[in-house]
């Protein structure tokens, strides 16, 4: 490991020692942060996986029903029936902090425009009713999935970044500082010994 390019003086030694202690403390803190982030990450990851599987299976059910409905309804009629939704959905968006990472927190807000389904029952088959209703019911879950998947992705990024910082401190910064400190110490000791020897020589001549 290369040592830093500094003058071997007592002044530098003092400075480097202070830097080393900061680096060690920072390393410990970051490592703790990393551990806790990973713990949270695994919890959220598990939740997300369950949610993802649920949403996928329910959604494919919805889509299957819907494609049946589409296939027995003329496309023009279907289009007019579905393009006037009776509900409007909005998302209440906040941010939440998970270990210093700002992650989204979304909640579904539904505002009803009219009661019931957005079309007359005579227009469309019952599969369509079912799929539209099911899709509406599924929305909160999908929003929850969106939120936790995003959290997982953001946390993964942050964990990676943090890991890099920890490694930089552990394997580069700290060894470098330690080596430089050792070098300066050696150099100062050497100077001292040289001074002592010189004095002894002078004394023995006299």
């Amino acid at each position: 490991m290369a040592r830093l390019n500094v003058n071997p003086t007592r002044m530098e030694l003092k400075k480097l020692k202070a830097r080393l202690s900061t680096a060690v403390r920072g390393h410990k803190l970051l490592k703790d942060k990393s551990d806790e982030m990973i713990r949270r990450f695994t919890v959220i990851l598990r939740e997300t996986k369950v949610l993802r599987e649920e949403v996928e299976s329910e959604l494919s059910d919805v889509l299957k029903q819907f494609s049946i409905a589409r296939s027995i309804t003329p496309s023009f009629e279907a289009e007019t029936a579905f393009s006037m939704p009776s509900v409007a959905v909005q998302a209440e968006c906040e941010t939440e902090s998970v270990m210093g990472v700002d992650v989204p927190k979304v909640e579904l807000v539904r505002t009803k425009r009219a009661e019931g389904l957005p079309y007359a029952y005579s227009e469309i088959t019952s599969e369509a009713d079912y799929s539209v209703q099911k899709a509406s019911e599924l929305l909160p879950k999908m929003v929850a999935l969106a939120q936790s998947e995003k959290t997982v992705r953001m946390l993964a990024e942050e964990i990676e970044r943090n890991k890099r910082r920890v490694n930089a401190l552990e394997y580069v910064m700290i060894p470098q500082l330690e080596e430089t400190i050792k070098y300066i110490k050696d150099k100062l000791d050497e100077n001292e010994r040289a001074a002592v020897v010189r004095l002894m020589k002078v004394k023995s001549k006299a």
């Binding site: 990450f41 889509l63 509900v87 209440e92 906040e94 509406s136 929003v143």
Partner: protein, 105 residues
């Protein structure tokens, strides 16, 4: 803050969500989807994207990971091909380096 929700997808699948109250943006291929996403990313906070479009745009979607919003999430189109699980897997590998959930390979 109240945000808006949208779905980007191709053709039939998105119509059912239109009836459920989402804003819909049809996109038949990945190029169109990319353009649409760019356009609506500022305006919509939650964007669903069908799997067949999300898959080729994996790299592009990474840019949304920096900020909390917009939230872009893939949903299966027709039959699920497991892209959603794939995304989780990638995140897990990045963060942990080990497989703790999906022991099937």
């Amino acid at each position: 803050m109240t945000g808006k929700m949208a779905i980007v997808g191709n053709g039939d699948e998105i119509m059912v969500f239109k009836a459920a109250g989402l804003a819909t943006f049809p996109a038949e291929d990945e190029k169109k989807a990319r353009e649409t996403l760019r356009k609506i990313a500022k305006e919509y906070q939650v964007i669903f994207l069908t799997e067949d479009l999300a898959k080729p745009l994996t790299e592009f979607l990474k840019r949304f990971d920096e900020e909390p919003y917009p939230v872009v999430v893939s949903i299966p189109s027709g039959n699920s091909e497991g892209y959603g699980i794939e995304v989780l897997k990638m995140a897990m590998e990045r963060a942990l380096g080990v497989d703790i959930l999906f022991h099937n390979d």
